[in-house]
Symmetry: D2
Subunit: 342 residues, 4 copies
């Protein structure tokens, strides 16, 4: 059994991580910290966990965390980087579900996250936890930067095309849509049901923190990437839908086969038959990315549709997938839940 600690855990990423770990046969949850909720039984805050998670939130305690095999950080940006160096020194492996270790360039990180990075040296060591790209490095990693939700959906949708040089890299459009849980579980007017239900809008068009993260991932496989990324808010709980547009360099390529081959051995990427339109509900609660590729009217524009559950493949599920790889477990362990439809 892997001894697991969770730092933070009162948000939606946290409760989803608890849902997955409570059913994971090799995970032993030993502590979960929350400064604000210390003492409160987890199942009192999240009654869906009654009978399944007996722990109460506790004050952060470095010694107790240091006794874990693995610590997940499900904290706001900027928190994990304060504690990670000491935990690494104590021999603990770490998966950070926040953004602290996602950008390789600490200067760029500081610019987008509005603070200096606390440990740029550790940043250099962190592995970006997208298994479909970095599986081998993840096996031995001490520190995983778990990818953002949009970056997961977008990169999985674009990488096959960029890797094979099928598209012009300079003019990629990523029009993305997310359910409201992506905004987190904090008191806020903007994410009240009465502000978000029965409405649809774009946000952060001038610039969103996931833009440099996606760019970094695309830059690793192609030169001259130009990316326009526009996120939108969908009146639903969970789900991300990325609609990706690019210009084909050659119109003869068999894109369907390209995608199918790229992901043939991937347990959590499902390329749909030609002509499909993936629905976000088809991955609700599941650690799956479903992808369809289209060339409307046979033209030179390729349209890739990529869906994930932002809390699972876009956060907690991918974190558990990384854990499975790090601890040499079968990658699907504890991640075989089927999407809830309807």
């Amino acid at each position: 059994m892997i001894k697991i600690g969770i730092v933070g855990g009162t948000g939606y990423t946290g409760v989803e991580l608890l849902r997955l770990l409570a059913a994971h046969p090799e995970a032993e949850l030993v502590l979960i910290t929350s400064r604000s909720e210390a003492g409160l039984p987890v199942a009192e805050m999240f009654p869906n966990l009654r009978g399944r998670v007996g722990l109460a939130f506790s004050e952060p305690d470095p010694a107790a965390l240091a006794a874990c095999d693995l610590v997940f950080f499900a904290t706001p940006n900027g928190v994990a980087m304060q504690s990670v160096p000491a935990l690494l020194d104590a021999g603990v492996r770490i998966v950070d579900l926040a953004a602290d270790f996602r950008l390789k360039d600490s200067g760029e990180w500081a610019q987008w996250y509005g603070m200096s990075h606390a440990c740029p040296d550790v940043l250099a060591e962190a592995i970006y936890g997208l298994p479909e790209v970095n599986r081998e490095a993840i096996r031995e990693a001490r520190l995983i930067a778990n990818p953002g939700c949009y970056p997961t959906a977008v990169q999985l949708g674009l990488l096959p095309l960029l890797e094979q040089g099928c598209i012009e890299p300079g003019r990629i459009i990523a029009d993305c849509k997310s359910g409201v849980s992506g905004a987190g579980r904090k008191a806020s007017v903007a994410t009240l049901l009465c502000e978000t239900s029965e409405s649809f809008k774009a946000y952060a068009v001038p610039g969103h923190r996931h833009w440099p993260e996606i760019r970094q991932g695309l830059d690793a496989v192609a030169e001259g990437v130009g990316l326009t990324f526009v996120p939108h808010l969908v009146p639903m709980l969970r789900g991300i839908h990325a609609s990706l547009y690019a210009t084909l360099t050659a119109t003869g390529a068999d894109l369907q086969t390209l995608f199918e081959q790229r992901y043939a051995d991937e347990p959590f990427v499902d390329v749909l038959p030609a002509g499909s339109h993936p629905e976000t509900r088809s991955v609700k609660g599941a650690n799956t990315c479903r992808i369809a590729v289209h060339r409307p009217q046979g033209g030179d524009t390729v349209v890739v549709l990529s869906v994930i559950d932002n809390l699972v493949k876009g956060a907690a599920g991918q974190a558990v997938q990384n854990m499975n790889i790090m601890f040499a477990l079968p990658e699907q362990t504890g991640l075989e839940g089927i999407a809830l439809v309807p």
Copy 2:
């Protein structure tokens, strides 16, 4: 492995049964029939099952069904009763998720369902599959009438009070609310998103088919039951919330303890702490009934709040629970999924 056949299975109860059985370690799904969809791979209709259910829908074939250990009927009312006698003769055990075998009185059945019962003699043998009441009989049953969704939530909420004589049986109010999936997956204007979203209404106030089913269950434990049952439609996918009102015969009873003791050994009934308000989402996708009991302002009216997922404890999950009991498996086998929150 239990060899399982499903008759019907293109509705929401069917896809939920498939979701549960696909993950059940002792179930081997050998066929699923649908006259209208014969030949279509199940996972093409329900992409959430891609990679998990390889079967295609097939034409109903009595011989193939007769080779199963257990057949689930997830058909419209009036279908199962046509086939059940022959299957029983062939030694197959049956769980009917429709209403064909729920009412003991075939005359009453005919009145509420608008057709004569095809096999009143078999009706006499059927066991009403509410494990919290009939567990022993279910073990040996050949034919289970799986309870309706409202009847499950209402009976579990009222039985402790009626069994102990704590309430006046003659004036019980069951004000119930259901998500739209209870209405099934058939083309219909009334259940379009644009007819049901952002609205709330009662329906069937003059009379609903679950009324005699609930009455039958309550009559079994108390005399003189008078029940007013009003169902309402909630703009959401899943979930039933029953708000139950009755007059206490004595105000001294410790109702909290009464409920806790009644359900102490029940794996799927969770009595919440005093003062709680169960949310339907706390059981979304789970086979759990959560109950809270209140006596507002210490008066002589008791208010019981009972929630289930109509597709799980109110249908497919309870059917699997019955299967587990019938085949002497641990009752929770394959039913340990945690509710998806949010």
Copy 3:
């Protein structure tokens, strides 16, 4: 033109009041105050009002308010009572959309609202602004206590029965359901989309502030009222549905006619044909209460279904209706908007 001031106005009741007043031919909106948002153009916070409301929020200014003909308070409970006496002295008429003047008994008010009442003498003068009961008194009133949302739906549904002695007053059940906008527009975890969507729950079963308000209204027409009131939260924006249960004293009464006659001259109460089930969407955005009355299976229990839009007939619309009566305008002036379906 009536010179109008609004105190508060950044909440949902406020924006709805603005929507109605901006289209009211006799209303001249001269100021709207908000301490926290002073300086912000109203239409910047609520873009639906762009081009229709040119005002900016301003700091509360007693002199400016004193120059109005009518001031609406759309403030949290306990605010209006601080300013009302001085405004009345200045000759301003007032409609308070909060609860400060709804309960006649200042002791009971203090108990339910957790503070002493600032002006019990003024309380005595306030008229409860339910036009279907108090129309004559409203005409001359200086101060209107605009009714709560649940109390409006419940009283309109029960008054005909109690006035005519048709029901036993001692055991009335009001099972009520509200959209989330009833909880207001303040940063709060409990009303996030991700906490309320796709779920249904009861709340405040031990006691809700609208209980004494409803009781006061019912006590005025019948002796011995006993009321159980259970509110529930519906995953939708707007709408209240009250399901009301009582025991008939005589089963021969023609309840349909009783309701039709009671409301024959009421412009905003619509008694539906026998057998109907009102939907909340049928009043979405409209100042209408729609009511249906049932006697299930001809028994002695009457079921009344009453729906309103909590922000219109349950708040801002009723406030404007009261204004129309106070200023001798045709009661429907500015209130003829038709419900938005779908």
Copy 4:
């Protein structure tokens, strides 16, 4: 008063037209036809119209229609073209809310709509009813082809850029999202609440009928238009959000001013301040198109965000706007309803 007939009218476009016309001071609704619902009072199907629309649906009667000043067709595609020639001969003016007269090329129409056009000669006369483009022609028109919902949102968002030559016309992306009411009010599995709620998907990526309609409009102002149009389904009732992407030909243009000047005199197009993100709810129930224009990070990609209510500016409201222009009424007559928020 304009004597008005409606053919069709049992769908969402129909009920919205009725809502608007019932409140229009110059409209006299004299008949509304529906073959399937003949005899049924309109307000029985749509209770929000109780007390406001007294008509019942009637069998289509050419003579009665011929006595109208204006007939609206709110019928499925292919119906209006059967009756329009005779009505024109009778001197009736017509607004067709379906697609029968939207494409100038009858061959292209036949290809996209799967049937031959019944009256290509009349097609030639029809005026495309987008007032922001064709206001003068609409004044005298006998026959208006009311634009589609997506085409309205997309053209209003792109025309200023194309008219001024600010963008490369050959590579325009229109990523559009619509509420479910756009799919109409017919019994269908695909638009059940349980199929569309809590999910998001693209549809018709290979080709959608609004693509040639949009292209025709863009071709009229620019050469070499290349358009990729991908519609998506949003789990909400009303609203369209178009996210439009194009490459700027020169990055020095002041796009904000360009849009503001283009629409300065338009009563129903509202250009938001720089940096804005329009929400669909800001136009819910209103005949307004709100637009924002962005240039993310100062690059050469322009992003235009354009929102409308698909049933109002995208259908019934625009039809009434056309009627107002045709009959020389002030263009805003009967269209001043403010969007319902929340």
